[in-house]
Symmetry: C2
């Protein structure tokens, strides 16, 4: 059901489109023959163009009414572009340091135009595969998550604001359903989309599908994803949605945004760091055994969580008197009570985070969409070994998450896979 | 912000209104001078008229843009009438035996016209105070709850249907906020609305407000109420929203309906049965010591829960193959797995039920709106004794609910208050 007058852009019509919007054209400067247009989309769903002119540059992202990497046979409402735009705007207001600026949005054409994150920005996942150390990553990502999640939760807003925002983002149901399908459903059953390193992981996959206890946990996590509107989450916060340099970190691509569980975002990020960790043995070579890098990844996971906690709780403490509807200042009065409430709350987020991190890890090994971290390991036995350790770690974490109360404990739980 | 052309009806204009709607007039039959109109609203919010003609009768309920029992100083959006109408319709489709028929809805005038539940139907709360035994109550209420809650949950519907319904009922935010205020907020802090049997309960109230552990639980329950869209719940399922005879049970007044936690409905009903139980000693006299009646109430609580579980799980089992999105048949394949999943699910509902039941009990003793069960006990010392036992039972249940896995265990937990 393509909309009237909607058309899929190409490198030529992109230029025509820009010429029709003078503010965009003047941002680039010069005349159109000076503009350089490159399609760079490497994601699964959409088209992305980098456009550079003599005076400026930007990125144009267009959603099409189907899944790009599959084709028109897999229809997908291009309204995701609207949700990406309103999420980008909100997140950009809450945390401008770590969100590209939004310049232009055209709902009808599903076009977003935003700040071009210039080189040396690269997709974090690629940096992790290369073994690049990002000294600010934990600090920046914890900042992004703390601000975007705190300020859209009932710790900061009224239930009036919350219910109206929840209702609006209910419209992003198609992308939520995609998540439900590929993260919480298909990996645990026979489905033609699934694939894995075969035959090496055949038995592991069979065991996964027969793991009754694990599947109870998956159902609980799925219910939480579908039913719990805790904050405006990014919804797809893996290392492919982060662009970074050693000193800059930007979060892109919030098209899956909706009101969901906070742990889904934190878990996506930490789970993808764990995937990066487990893939390192596959990238080791004579020059670099990656052992130091592995330690840096684990340290970054700990740092991200601990700084996330710190920053989130600071925001909460600072804003308590003028706070949202969740913990009225008149009920939670003394510092002791407030600390107790905060510990309780963060403990819940940690447990959710570990659960969702695990779900994200599992699906990247046995489901439809794999990650380059593992795919880039060409030796299938080596790859399968890495994947198996990740899978086993994820299973343990998912099952034991409710008895874990710190990242250290989580690492201890999976120490036989980690070390 | 009263709407144009909206006006508050009175016994005269009700007749004019009906005359303007020929299907309503013909339902009554005869001419308007034969019609009998009585205002019977005893609720807190709205006006209710019983209208009888020579051939038929109905009830007309009108919402006004303020809280009836307070007056125009407490404004309240009269859109609640719309949510009541759509909930009545949905619940009536799912469980016609226990829901009055909806004849007419006028959104602009906030008027609902429905089946008149004739005498000997009375409000259940009044029957419980009188000591009337309702032999079908547990069976009927479990039927109502199982059907209305199962069929609107993700066990039965797709996430597409669910998110669009959730979005719609987000519009009922004002009534949700009323619940948040009077159930989850004010009872636990100083608030001018609060009242209690004083001075008898002064120390109990102080202890409640200083109970750090209890207040953590309250925050968790409030968050669940605000964030968790598990099913279309009635939202106000106390014994004043049930009209009954010994053989008929009808649930009225779903104006608080929204997508919320299933345990909120089940807990409202069971919590109000517990309030009825704890009030019985205040109604005992020489003719009737109420001991047998108290046993019947406890038995009815157990029966309601066990039949609710049975019926809910039967619906789930029967519908598994064509089920909603929560537990795909392809993942949960064997009977063992399905049973495990069901036990896990119901255990969660039980714990939520006990939590919400407790919250409902507490607020009726120390908050703004009390229940006739206790208010009808004129001796304040006797009343305070009953209330204190109820309060202590509720506090215990709320704190221990996560370690309880059956109603029997719940009763054991509060045995020193019960017996
Ligand atoms: N603002 C930007 N600056 C630079 N490159 C970008 C920007 N946005 C996207 N890209 C590039 O385009 C790719 C796809 O963008 P993304 O928003 O993730 O699309 P999709 O939704 O299809 O995954 C990214 O991996 C990145 O390489
Ligand atoms: N369908 C009905 N048949 C008979 N009496 C009714 C009916 N609906 C409401 N009533 C009477 O009106 C009272 C108030 O109705 P209710 O819907 O509970 O209003 P409110 O929302 O103000 O609480 C009930 O307690 C009951 O006595
Ligand atoms: Mg992407
Ligand atoms: Mg910025
Ligand atoms: Mg994307
Ligand atoms: Mg009522
Ligand atoms: Mg009512």
């Amino acid at each position: 059901e393509t909309k009237d007058n909607f058309y899929v852009l190409n490198t030529t019509s992109v230029v025509d489109y820009i010429m029709k919007h003078s503010s965009l054209a003047s941002r680039l400067g010069g005349i159109e023959s000076n503009w350089k247009v490159v399609e760079v989309g490497d994601g699964n769903l959409n088209f992305v163009y980098i456009i550079e002119g003599p005076c400026g540059s930007f990125v144009l992202k267009q959603s099409v009414p189907y899944v790009r990497c599959v084709g028109e046979s897999w229809q997908l409402n291009s309204d995701r572009s609207y949700f990406e735009a309103i999420a980008l705007k909100k997140q950009g207001t809450l945390c401008p340091q770590h969100v590209p600026d939004l310049y232009h949005f055209d709902r009808h054409m599903s076009i977003i135009i935003m700040q071009y994150l210039e080189p040396p920005h690269i997709i974090l996942r690629k940096g992790l595969i290369k073994g690049i150390i990002y000294p600010c990553l934990g600090d920046h990502m914890s900042e992004y998550m703390a601000k975007t999640l705190f300020y859209t939760s009932l710790l900061a807003i009224s239930t009036t604001t919350h219910r109206s925002a929840v209702a609006e983002f209910c419209g992003n149901v198609e992308l939520c359903r995609l998540t439900e399908q590929v993260i919480f459903t298909e990996p645990y059953m026979e489905a033609t989309n699934n694939r894995w390193t075969a035959p090496q992981l055949d038995e592991d996959v069979k065991a996964l599908r027969n793991d009754k206890v694990l599947k109870l946990e998956v159902a609980e996590l799925k219910a939480m994803f579908c039913e719990r509107s805790q904050a405006l989450i990014h919804g797809d916060l893996h290392s492919g949605s982060v662009m970074a340099t050693v000193s800059s970190t930007k979060v892109i691509d919030p098209e899956f945004a909706f009101y969901g569980p906070i742990g889904f975002d934190v878990g996506a990020f930490l789970g993808n760091l764990l995937l990066a960790y487990f893939s390192q043995d596959g990238h080791a070579d004579k020059q670099n055994d990656r052992q130091g890098y592995k330690r840096w990844i684990l340290a970054t996971i700990e740092e991200t969580w601990s700084k996330f906690t710190q920053k989130f709780l600071s925001l909460w403490t600072e804003n308590w008197e003028s706070s949202g509807d969740a913990y009225p200042a008149g009920i939670y009065r003394s510092p002791t009570e407030r600390t107790l409430a905060q510990e309780h709350y963060m403990n819940g987020i940690l447990q959710d985070t570990l659960g969702f991190a695990s779900a994200k890890m599992i699906r990247r090994i046995v489901g439809i969409a794999h990650v380059e971290d593992f795919e880039a390991i060409s030796n299938p036995d080596l790859r399968a070994g890495c994947e198996r350790r990740a899978l086993n770690a994820a299973k343990k974490l998912m099952k034991a998450r409710k008895s874990v109360s710190s990242i250290k404990e989580a690492f201890e739980l999976i120490s036989s896979e980690l070390y």
